[in-house]
Amino acid sequence: MSVPNGVTHHILTVLVENKAGVLSRVAGLFSRRGFNIFSLAVSPTDDERFSRMTIVVDAESAPLEQVVKQLNKLINVIKITEVPPEEGVERELMMVTVKATAEARGQVTELTAIFEAKIVDVGFDAMTIMVAGEPEKLDAFSDLVKPFGIVEIQRTGRIALPRLARQPTRLRAVRTARA
């Protein structure tokens, strides 16, 4: 599921020390300050001393500032970047096992092709399909296969990086001074 419509969410990418118990410290802090973690993805980085967490929180309950400041106080947290949804690239991966008897198999395969998804396993009367992309795309796919019967569904939680500049960096200060 992606964040329900109309609810603003925030994406935090948190660089942490790759040590035992760090996940528990971070997760505990969110719950203590009354924040609900919507999704959470943790993975190693190119530097083995650190891991990166991508945390999606619904920001209705309270301003995020306080929780970011409290997170910053954790000794194992190195750096926090807040990615506003409109300024980030978000992706997620989903695997879904759908009931697909002989007669339904064709339709499911067709949907899989349309979504540029991939069939990763086929059984007697079910198929497992992997979909990657924007969270909304994953939602759409699971909605469309629902009528066939979803046996199991598994999502990774989203990861995000900030969008890159589309134009060369301008020397803003210089321009302002001249104006």
Partner: protein, 573 residues
């Protein structure tokens, strides 16, 4: 040099300059108690692990150095949870060492196993579970660094028994490497300049001084700033003594039981110079109506405090000592250009409030003994540098209100957590840290019964503290709330004045016990207590149970609605 983990732990504590630790041995920590025999570190054997934690905290309050406690696993670790939480709320530097079941059996529900690191995660600044004896020197070094720098706080090092027995090659790290921990000490120069400008513009400014002043050792800087600007200072419960109470610019304590002038000065202020304070609910009352006209300068070493409750106009992240010194420079530069702002009208207003609404009580001759009178008599008959510890409740508020603090770091209490029973162990810790000082505990009868067994520790270890029980036979503060807000429906607050017999109890614990019922006997008994220096003294002061703490702002109410007390008539509002 090959050492066991246990030897390395003790040696690491010695390297950190630890002179004394408070603790109680047990199964999982046994290996560490063995090398302690040869160590230069003095160990104070407590009677309950909670006592060890509060003693370490009292030691830290009185000396400014980190307090150290060491206990075993499981129930010992859970017994020290309260002191850890207390120290966390009050930013007290406290290093706690706990034993743990052997690393290889963690997670099997072994005898005396508890997830100490998990339990204490939300109430420590950081904690460590040691998995390899080779990490011990590094972790101890990090633990002391984290506890004492930035915003101080408690840390915990959990040491499994097999790690204590493991052999390692001794080393001492020459530096601490914590990439995620870099407290900002120096204030941003532009912010300091902006703050100085606000100071120059203000006509009704107040310095709101919090515990951060004492943690930073910034009393001298605070005094300098106040005298340079003429800005009056309120000292919160955590900051009592940061500036002498008798200084003409000191307005005393604000908040729920603060005095009228301190509370109202903030309500009417056009600027709050907030130094190491955190807009606690006991100070602000309803934050929506707190200091409504004031711009706010907020200096704190913890960035998370800035904007947590009140959005500051000028936030400054930094150490109070450093930032106030910079602020003094910036204000002086402004004053040289524009002269010193005239605050005489504001001073006159404050003076008038102080005269009209002083703290009052009536001690009638032959009438029941008033607790406030005991506090004042104690202050008048003890040296200026006496260290005063208190528990939590009415006696704490009377002590904080009426004791005239003359020096910083002479007041020790449980502010944030409000831990009943804090006074006796905290006083013991303070006396261990400052044996040259007279140390008094003002305690309630309810509090006393929670931790009095540590007086056995005090007697056995020759730690001659003095305890004044303000015995009103009630859980007095709860009684006060039931009287005022629950239509005098008293529920489970009566304790009895004679049960236990405090004098006999004191004597049984190796202390001198005395009892005072009559106002005339107060001073002579205090004098007698002051002469005893070879053992602890306990005085059971039988005080008037009807006495309430005033002024009072009801919880969650506006600081504009102060109940002044019966002396002011008409419900005292």
């Amino acid at each position: 040099m090959k050492l066991t983990g246990a030897q390395a732990l003790i040696k690491s504590l010695e390297m950190e300059g630890v002179e004394v630790m408070f603790g109680l041995p047990g199964g999982a920590i046994l290996p560490v108690y063995d090398p302690l025999i040869e160590s230069s570190i003095r160990h104070v054997l407590v009677r309950h692990e909670q006592g060890a934690g509060h003693m370490a905290s009292g030691y830290a309050w009185a000396t400014g150095r980190p307090g150290v406690a060491m206990v075993t696993s499981g129930p010992a670790a859970t017994n020290i949870v309260t002191p850890l939480c207390d120290a966390y709320m009050d930013s007290v530097p406290f290093v706690c060492i706990t034993g743990q079941v052997p690393y290889k059996v963690i997670g099997t529900d072994a005898f005396q196993e508890a997830d100490t690191v998990g339990i204490t995660m939300p109430i420590t600044k950081h904690n460590w579970l040691v998995s390899d004896a080779n990490d011990i020197p590094r972790i101890v070094r990090e633990a002391f660094h984290v506890a004492t720098t930035g915003r101080p706080g408690p840390v915990l090092v959990d040491v499994p028994k097999d790690v204590s027995n493991q052999t390692m090659e001794w080393y001492w790290p020459d530096k601490v490497d914590l990439p995620g921990y870099k407290p900002n000490v120096k204030g941003h120069p532009r912010q300091v300049k902006d703050a100085a400008r606000l100071v120059m513009e203000a006509r009704r400014p107040v310095v709101y001084a919090g515990g951060g002043i004492l943690k930073a050792g910034a009393s001298a800087e605070l005094l300098q700033f106040a005298e340079l600007t003429g800005i009056p200072v309120v000292t919160t419960l955590m900051a009592r003594g940061a500036i002498p109470d008798e200084h003409e610019l000191c307005l005393g304590m604000p908040g729920m039981h603060g005095n009228y002038t301190a509370i109202t000065s903030m309500q009417k202020a056009d600027l709050l110079v907030t130094l190491g304070a955190r807009f606690d609910d006991r100070v602000t009352g309803n934050p929506a109506t707190f200091a409504p006209h004031a711009k706010v300068i907020h200096v704190d070493i913890d960035p998370a405090e800035l904007g947590k409750v009140r959005r500051p106009d000028v936030p400054i992240v930094g150490d109070c000592k450093v930032v106030i010194a910079e602020l003094v420079k910036a204000v002086r530069a402004e004053q040289e250009k524009h002269g010193r702002p005239d605050l005489s009208e504001w001073h006159a207003t404050l003076r008038e409030w102080q005269q009209r609404y002083p703290l009052t009580y009536q001690q009638e001759d032959g009438g029941p003994l008033k607790p406030q009178y005991v506090v004042e008599a104690l202050r008048a008959n003890t040296p200026d540098d006496t260290i005063l510890a208190s528990g939590v409740g009415q006696h704490q508020m009377w002590a904080s209100q009426l004791w005239k603090f003359k020096q910083p770091n002479t007041w020790i209490n449980s502010g944030g957590l409000g831990t009943m029973g804090y006074a006796i162990p905290a006083a013991i810790g303070a006396k261990v840290g400052r044996p040259d000082r007279m140390v008094w505990a003002i305690d309630g009868d309810g509090c006393f019964q929670m931790t009095a067994q540590e007086l056995v520790t005090a007697s056995a270890e020759r730690i001659p503290i003095k305890v004044a029980i303000l015995n009103n036979a009630y859980l007095g503060m709860v009684r006060q709330w039931q009287e005022l807000f629950y239509e005098e429906r008293y529920s489970e607050v009566y304790l009895s004045p004679d049960l236990p017999d405090y004098v006999k109890w004191a004597e049984a614990m190796g202390c001198v016990g005395m009892r005072v019922d009559n106002p005339d006997d107060v001073v002579p008994t205090i004098e007698k207590a002051n002469e005893i220096d070879d053992r602890p003294v306990v005085i059971d002061f039988r005080t008037d149970y009807r006495e309430k703490v005033y002024p009072m702002v009801p919880a969650g109410g506006s600081n504009d609605d102060i109940i002044l007390g019966p002396e002011f008539g008409e419900g005292g509002r």
